[in-house]
């Protein structure tokens, strides 16, 4: 009787235990290989996705070279921020009108370059894949203060209150804008003093202070910029000439 009680107690306690399964079925050789390859693929995908989403991304930047050192370029961007660029053996360099052997040693301080590469958010550096020299167009906006119709030039007062000489070429694309008509073709002869214009061009090679205009938009209905101070030249009265103190001139015979 005692044994029966003991045995039944053991069976009863065993019945309380739940079924436990192994986390993974015992792998066979082929199953193990498949599983490992799947795990590796998943790891690669996760790693690639994480890198794509979080740590790195493609970026393009334009700036002026401040320093070239070993495998690093320091750029000053148009926002006046410093951007550090790393180059490696697969970075491609190119320059318009330059030989195919253009490389990092050809980059000098002051050159404008564009860099396309992989930006690391942690280090905030770009690993360059493409480095190209570029010519950045110059842009001005302001009001016309004087027009030289003979030479197809005018003087622009910029929003920084600096006078800028502007040259109009036959290839210059001149447009006007009004909200009703939109952008329409315009002409140099229609430009007036006080017009508010926006200009894209390139500095003249012989005279860098002169801008050769590529495109111009005359914002016809735009209000005057209160920050642009146009000083209208006033004529200084010159004293009337008198004959006092002058020498008489006799014709040469």
């Amino acid at each position: 009787m005692k044994y029966k009680i003991i045995i039944s107690a053991i069976i009863f306690s065993l019945a309380l235990t739940g079924q436990a399964y192994a986390a993974t079925p015992s792998p066979t050789a082929s199953n193990s290989q498949t599983l490992n390859s799947q795990i590796n693929q998943l790891k690669d995908k996760i790693a690639s996705r994480v890198s794509e989403l979080n740590l790195v991304e493609k970026r393009g930047v334009i700036g002026t070279i401040q320093e070239v050192k070993d495998s690093q370029i320091t750029l000053s961007t148009n926002e006046n921020n410093l951007q550090y660029i790393d180059v490696d053996e697969i970075t491609k360099f190119s320059s318009a009108g330059s030989s195919a052997s253009f490389g990092i040693s050809d980059l000098k301080k002051g050159m404008d370059v564009s860099v396309l590469g992989i930006y690391n958010k942690e280090s905030q550096r770009i690993l360059a894949r493409y480095v190209d020299t570029v010519t950045i167009p110059t842009r001005f906006s302001g009001e016309i203060v004087s027009i030289d119709t003979k030479n197809y030039r005018f003087t622009l007062m910029t929003v920084d209150n600096k006078a800028q000489d502007i040259d109009i070429e036959t290839t210059t694309k001149i447009s006007s804008y009004t909200p009703d008509a939109g952008l329409t073709s315009y002409g140099f002869s229609k430009l007036s003093v006080g017009d508010r214009v926006q200009i894209v061009g390139y500095p003249d090679k012989k005279n860098p202070s002169l801008l050769i205009t590529d495109r111009l938009i005359d914002l016809l209905n735009a209000p005057k910029n209160p920050n642009i101070l146009i000083v209208t030249p006033t004529s200084i009265p010159s004293p009337a000439p008198t004959s006092k103190g002058t020498k008489s001139i006799s014709p040469i015979k």
Binding site: K2, Y3, I5, I6, A9, I10, F12, S13, L16, K58, R59, G60, V61, I62, T77, N78, E79, S114, V115, L116, G117, I118, Y119, R129, Y130, D132, V134, I136, P137, R139, S141, V159, S175, Y177, P179, G182, L183, R196, Q198, V200, R215, I217, L219, A222, P223, K224, N225, P226, N227
Partner: protein, 144 residues
């Protein structure tokens, strides 16, 4: 006597397990969130306040972002400016001029040059002042 001890041991273990199970159940039930707190009415949705377009120099460009790389030549430009402003979009080789809608939003599409270039956005406000925003954008289909 010995058998009785064994039986008592098993019974004690069993009683202990049952007591532990009851205690665990009670503990878990106290961690639950009462049903009435799940009512949607209890969730307060706080809307972000719409920025008042009363300022005279509101001008933002949401897209493209600076240093953005696009694998398409045609990009979408979205932004906000004060009503009545005139916005000029200037790339290396073309220009567009738009005016924002009544709510200040503006949207347009723009073809960008090959490679990396600077797109300049200039807003001329109704009071005559202006604001400039630059975006460096790149068209590239290169994979790296």
């Amino acid at each position: 006597m010995k058998a009785e001890k064994v039986i008592l041991s098993f019974v004690a273990v069993f009683v202990g397990l049952v007591a532990a199970g009851i205690a665990f159940y009670l503990y878990q039930s106290t961690k639950g969130i009462p049903f009435d707190q799940f009512k949607p009415s209890a969730t307060k949705v706080v809307k972000a306040p719409t920025p008042a377009a009363t300022e005279t120099d509101v001008f933002t460009v949401d897209t493209p972002t600076d240093q953005q790389v696009s694998d398409k030549k045609l990009i979408t430009i979205k932004g906000t400016a004060v009503k009545g402003a005139t916005i000029t979009v200037s790339t290396d080789d073309s220009d567009q001029v738009v005016q924002p809608a009544d709510n200040g939003d503006f949207t347009l599409t723009q073809t960008i040059p090959d490679g990396t270039s600077i797109v300049e956005f200039t807003a001329v406000f109704p009071d005559g002042t202006q604001k400039k925003i630059d975006r460096t954008v790149t068209f590239s289909t290169a994979s790296f």
